[in-house]
Amino acid sequence: MNYKKTKTFMSILAMVEMELRRVWHDPVEIITRAVQPVLWVTVFSVVMAHRVNLGVQDYTSFIAPGVVFQSATFIALAYGIMMVFERESGVLKRLLSSPRANIVIGRTLAGSVRASTQYIIVLASAALVSAKLTDNPLLLIAG
């Protein structure tokens, strides 16, 4: 019985060991995975903390643009990572050997179009919880 337990335990620990070994071979992953929470703690929390000082009453309206930018940033990040995967796959190789492909501009534009679908949803849901959205184009450009 005890022997069986030890074996079970060993097999469970083997998975943990596998994961640790993977990290050992590619420690950069620890940093990339930490980017998002670190940004929350260091950047967003500081900004949010100041909202009281700034006299912000309508928190929903205040946070909506931030969330839009945040989701855009992370989609851009995800796209960058996706391109790294494409490097490993054959897509990038094929694009590199095709006559007219402007890969950088093309994929960047593709990423922004994809990101825009995201912030349309964010803006719509902000409107749904009655955030005040401006329709003044000058203000939109000025951010």
Binding site: E88, L92, K93, R94, L95, S97, S98, P99, R100
Partner: protein
């Protein structure tokens, strides 16, 4: 005019790995030319340089007499290329994939649909065109990739291990379609493989590459004749040792195989066989079975390099360097 002309090509990756070490290669226009070698021999590196993805360290490469370093774009217009790794978007349909690539290749909208339909039809994918690629089998994926390489009507198609990981039927279908296309349009096909049998069967010219160097070149038959050894294998009823003695007396180099059969290495097995049987029979040794085993490209390769075709470690090293390169 040769389709591909490679002179003194050297490629050293940033890690110091020498992937190509003075490659000279000529692919004639209209040829079905195979580059054959173990994993890590430099096949993929060579192809990636010819298709202008990475730069050579030294040497010149011309594609239809355009130097790739100064006429890269012109060269890219002339070639259709299928990399070893999958080059499709699996969450799109086959037809959508083809459309995107057709647009990337700048094919005008007026002929786009026609060209795509034709290519898909040719590769036997018409019925599957509207399905998502992730539902395709390995063989279908490869055929779609080849179909896409055909839509720009290239004069030269470059395929990097086109049948890797496919079952024999899927492999056969791919070669059969490629041969048919070549026959119809008279294009040049240059492909890398480590399957000796495929190079032997389908290519009309073979270059053997090992450790970054071309070690032999010729038609498959010529290579087998020049470097390979044919064998006569005999199963006899009688004293094996006595039989070997008789054969040695005839100046044949006879060996006993593990299963008790006798194999004799000869230059012209079909001419030697009657003599062998006759001499054994006259010494009261009955030949129960005799067969001729022709040399394969495998034998040629092993003879030339003194090693088998799998060199996993080497492959990993070069893969690693490739990753750093892009």
């Amino acid at each position: 005019m040769p389709a591909i002309e490679v002179r003194d090509l050297v490629k050293v990756y940033s890690g110091g790995v020498v992937a190509l070490n003075g490659v000279n290669l000529t692919v004639e226009e209209g040829a079905f030319h195979a580059i054959l070698g173990p994993n890590g021999a430099g096949k993929t590196t060579l192809i990636r340089i010819i298709t202008t993805q990475i730069k050579p360290t030294k040497g010149t490469i011309k594609v239809f007499s355009f130097d790739i370093s100064s006429y890269g774009n012109r060269v890219r217009e002339l070639i259709g290329y299928v990399p070893q790794e999958m080059s499709l978007w699996t969450d799109l349909t086959g037809y959508e994939n083809a459309t995107i690539y057709a647009k990337i290749y700048g094919i005008e909208s007026s002929r786009r649909a026609n060209v795509i339909d034709e290519a898909l039809e040719f590769m036997g994918l018409r019925d599957a065109a509207k399905r998502l690629v992730k539902t395709y089998s390995g063989g279908m994926i490869r055929r779609l990739e080849i179909a896409i390489a055909l839509i720009s009507r290239p004069r030269l198609i470059i395929l990097d291990e086109p049948t890797i990981g496919l079952d024999p039927r899927a492999r056969m279908l791919i070669w059969e379609r490629l041969l048919a296309y070549k026959k119809e349009y008279g294009i040049t096909i240059f492909f890398a493989t480590h399957y000796m049998d495929e190079a032997d069967k389908y290519a009309d010219m073979v270059s053997l590459i090992n450790r970054g160097k071309i070690i032999a070149e010729g038609r498959p038959l010529e290579l087998r004749k020049a470097y390979g050894v044919d064998k006569i294998v005999l199963r006899i009823d009688g004293d094996v040792e006595k039989a070997k003695e008789i054969l040695s007396g005839l100046d044949f180099n006879a060996r006993t195989d593990n299963n008790g059969e006798i194999s004799i290495v000869v230059k012209e097995p079909s001419a030697a066989l009657p003599k062998v049987i006759e001499n054994l029979n006259s010494s009261d040794i009955t030949v129960l079975e005799a067969r001729i085993v022709e040399a394969s490209l495998d034998d040629v390769f092993i003879k030339l390099t003194g090693e088998g075709i799998f060199e996993e470690e080497e492959m990993e090293r070069i893969r690693e360097s490739c990753r750093q390169e892009v």
